[in-house]
Symmetry: D2
Subunit: 377 residues, 4 copies
């Protein structure tokens, strides 16, 4: 019997989830079945309209009704970040599996509570770090694991956008710590941490800077300006558990960057680099072959890079952003059916998000922070 | 009442159509409704399995039953090219709208027959030239129409892959003219013609070369070799109706090219270039601004380039190959509902395919060929 | 005893020659010695000033005095193209070796006369096709000769600039056939032919289009417009003696192109591509290795690519435009000393320039032209 | 009367200086004259041979004789870094102007002594930070100063090579702190600091990591391994005096990087990025124009970017590595003649090199270091 999906939220990520759940089974062919049961938004007529557009059987304007509805087995949370915790805890309490957008929560305490609850309830969880499901990225991971570039010794990553680059953009709740939590680190930085984790494993300690580039912003009302309370940019020097070092950088005020999520992995035998704005390419240098012929190879993804072939049997035809979410959903459904842990589940995602909070803490206290510390204090 | 879709074929393009019809309404929100009515493949159990995977209500192993079924309003044809004509004529005879993959047919006579039948029957038609629906390409078209690069004076295009580059690849029906029709021109070249048409309008005349790079191929049986009868590569010098000139080139034996469909439009005030392998980018040079600051701008597609925003509200997140087919389907459904001609319909596609046959004719006869000639003789 | 250089002209190419002759011996260390003997320009005080700047022992304002001066062994001709023939013939008559800028002459008759005279006199000649001396290009040639990409089957090349792209640029002598000879073909196209020759060998026949994009230009005087008599753009379909086919394209009205001289060589085992605007890079694809790892390698030139190392012992540090002329000069001096033919000498260059005149002829007569024809008729 | 040059060293940098001093006057035309007086290397016959090749009047195998020779006005020091200080002090004591390769010295104490001596003696000094003289970089600087990208708020830079990437490369003196001083920071990192200084001004404080990636290397003798004492890689979080923040990273063990010296400057109105491996290009994004047309412009250097035009009057033809040294020499000669400070002189270079020593200190002591500290303790 098909699992029922309850989706909370119909914005950018809500639509991405809806499309991915609609499509995953048709793309992969061998997935556990899923029904689009309920969708939730406000006001009620918007929920109804979205149910019609996305093909959900029912609509709700109260998320509490959705998370407890018997026809719902999986709750997908794409509401504003500040609501994730309460929604997730309610869904877990109702025995639902939970698919939650990143970041898990505004604070580590909340994220920790979510992780504990999920673990105790034994439900499956998945957090929306969709970029790591890119076949190009997974191929890089496999190359590293196979030793193609030797021992990994260094990592550099950057995740930048320009949605807060304009100094005269109006102040919004995004700039308020109580409502939005971290700034660029929460929106963007945690994606980079997820990449770094997939490629080099966990981080041990770090020292970091954060920067508020535009300290105030004009009020939309037109009178006066309000303070920006969270970081526009952050940079960290990190030490990995495997002995590697590296740098993680993020900015939401980097003009011209639309979805930059670039990284490079330095190995003792080679180098791999990637750029999200050209997400269907991987660049690989290996110390082998004739000297005069050595160079970075630009590899275009294709069926040789699973699960690209489920979308298209011909190489170089390119996946898009939405396809990454479809892969994420497929993994979630498979693991639920197999009763196995998902990646990244609340435990994994908590470890990613501890890193961005450690960056914030290091910058505030001006000292190196260990990931073993109690970061919530 | 929703229109019913009957889909013939479940391979590369069959799956692409199925996914696009499933998804288009959810992506766009304001489309006429479509039901996934029937799917056809052989043997019957494969058809049944595909119906389950893609969500079609019924399955058939005989396409004639599908095209005449009362629950089918639109017939989507993704069977081998040699079958398109018979299928399309039958569907048209049954009063169905027809969505046909490119090329329309192996011969111009067949394509002409399809066009005539559709016109007489008054049904809507659409041919699968999906690359022209890319928001980047449509944006280029709009820039040209708005005069941003002045009068268009020159065009150069290339469409290359490497699926026939290996000289020791086994001989298949693709190499046989009676079964496959044209070679690289039919598989790839016609896509380039569609781009050229969208950007510069119709071609008046041309002179061309074709080339069989690998004259024989080993038989799969292992004994002996068989002749390759159709072109591995072709090149043409073209004159446009608007006075521009240009070159069109294609190869199916171009190592390293996975889905190259590149072009450049030369205008009197600027230049636009595009590369399908980086399909979310457009490069624009305009003769304006400070000399020391002039250069090609790399524009990443985003919501400013319709209908990108229907897929994702954030720029630089990238569409994929499948999304182009979704846009094509959306256009088809809208035009059917509006009772207006689609683009490119059988009439448009016939004009594209006349160009590839003119290239073949020019190469065979060693002379400039006018597109006004009767190319079927 | 050092050879004496007499240099005619001090413009773009004159300076390039002066700098190259000054520097070649210091770069290479093992070259035959050359003295900067005489330089010629008008008026006399300009010649004197240029002699001072470039370090020539003497100055002349009459080139006839220079070509017959006893202290001159090599005559370098960088005067306007229409003067090359007379100057070269006089220098040859005086028994001098001749280094002439491209194109050799405005007409094939003149170029032929130069070639015949040089051959009969037994002097060494070199023509300024400097781009082919790029270590990246020579490395490509060696890779091809070593069979790294198999049999070469196809070539495509483009050479574009935008110095005549602006429709409102004033009319000059460059647009007049009697004074300037060919248009884009003479300025740019012949460079591409030299590349094509180095990589694939001689062309057998071709069919071509030429295009005058801006038929008239405003007179500098401000009153009225004058006709443009030579081509702004040209395109050709070529057949090589080795059985390969290809396309050659050029435009002097291609906005945004500053020194585009790009090409791709298709082989049965691989592909090499090059772009002059990134002249220190070569891109190579070979059909070998693991499928998921295949891609174009971007090779940065370095000491492994001779004679890069004479300029710099570290890879990736980049040569510049001037360095190509220095390599050309070094080759010329070595061959003079060794009493061996240079490449490309007047015989080679004549064969290149026959191609551009064949393109012009083909376009005028609307027919395929053989390179064996008497193209001067 | 022409100034006399005495050049110490004939290796990579020695040759670069020789070529640049030979060529600068001919390139620029309006420079103070310079004579190639003496060159020094050992053994004596090598010095003599190099004098012949490069065109110096005399040769010495004892640098002390060169620095005190009356025919020498400028001493160019390209000997191993550990010798710079003694040589420079001797040259200054003899009243010579000094052109010294980077880094100035192995220790800050030595560099400080050099700076003090030069200042007291009133001689002109120049340090070989040649990359900052690139017309592309100077154009970026001018754009920033003109406010084209608003207030500069963030900087990121990387300078990487792979000459120490191979773990099995033999141990050399480069790995020994007493002989080589710093590792990647001294070879590469200081170049990045010079770029950062030109673009954003001085750094106030920083916190840093250094990393020895290959802790031991095999002895060339074949028996056993020796320790690597200086850093293979380093990363720093920096605060600028102007309020900006940023990251500086370097590695000499980064496979595939041949001469990467990349940076990006984030401004409140735009972004500029640069890559040394494509040193003739600048990428600029400005927040202006129609949304759908915004993107990074790739600007090819040309005569609009001084002093490119002194080398070539046509854009896009590209300068090379050697040309940067020629520009440096031209600046030095001009400033000597004008009796004005050069950039970067010993005072400037000392400030650059204080930064790399501060990075080293911060990593060793695990704390933020101010550039106002006495870094020599």
């Amino acid at each position: 019997m098909a699992m029922g999906l309850g989706l909370i939220g119909t914005g950018f990520m809500g639509k991405a989830h809806a499309l991915a759940y609609r499509q995953a089974g048709a793309v992969f062919g061998d997935l556990p079945e899923v029904r689009l049961a309920l969708i939730c938004d406000t006001p009620a007529d918007k929920a109804t309209e979205m149910a019609r557009q996305f093909g959900f059987s029912g609509a709700r304007d109260n998320w509490r009704e959705l998370v407890t509805a018997p026809e719902v087995d999986i709750v997908s949370i794409t509401a504003p970040n500040g609501l994730h915790c309460e929604m997730a805890l309610a869904a877990i309490a109702a025995g639902k599996h939970v698919h939650c957008e990143k970041p898990m929560a505004l604070t580590l305490s909340d994220a920790q509570a979510m992780q504990t609850a999920a673990e105790q309830a034994g439900v499956r969880t998945m957090v929306g770090y969709n970029y790591i499901h890119n076949p190009a990225v997974q191929h890089a991971r496999r190359l590293i694991e196979a030793g193609e570039i030797g021992r990994t010794v260094h990592f550099r990553g950057w995740v930048d956008e320009d949605y807060q680059a304009d100094p005269e953009l109006a102040w919004t709740w995004r700039a308020k710590r109580a409502d939005a939590g971290l700034g660029a680190l929460g929106d963007l930085g945690c994606h980079l941490v997820s990449m770094s984790h997939v490629l080099l494993g966990p981080i041990d300690s770090l020292v970091a800077d954060t920067q508020i580039i535009h300290p105030t912003r004009p009020l939309a009302s037109g009178s006066g300006r309000a303070a920006v309370e969270n970081e526009d940019a952050a940079s960290a020097l990190v030490h990995y558990a495997n002995g590697a070092q590296g740098t993680l950088c993020t900015s939401r005020s980097a003009w011209g960057r639309k979805n930059r999520l670039d990284w490079e992995v330095h190995g003792t035998k080679g180098m791999i680099t990637f750029s999200q704005e050209r997400m269907n390419e991987l660049r690989l240098y290996r110390n082998q072959g004739t000297p005069g012929l050595q160079g970075f190879s630009t590899i275009l993804t294709g069926p040789a890079h699973e699960p690209y072939g489920a979308f298209c049997p011909a190489p170089g035809h390119q996946l898009g952003f939405g396809d990454l979410k479809t892969i994420e959903v497929a993994q979630f459904l498979r693991r639920i059916a197999a009763n196995e842990p998902c990646f990244p589940n609340f435990t994994d995602a908590l470890s990613f998000e501890r890193v961005i909070h450690a960056i914030d803490l290091s910058a505030r206290e001006g000292r190196r922070v260990s990931l073993n510390e109690d970061l919530r204090s």
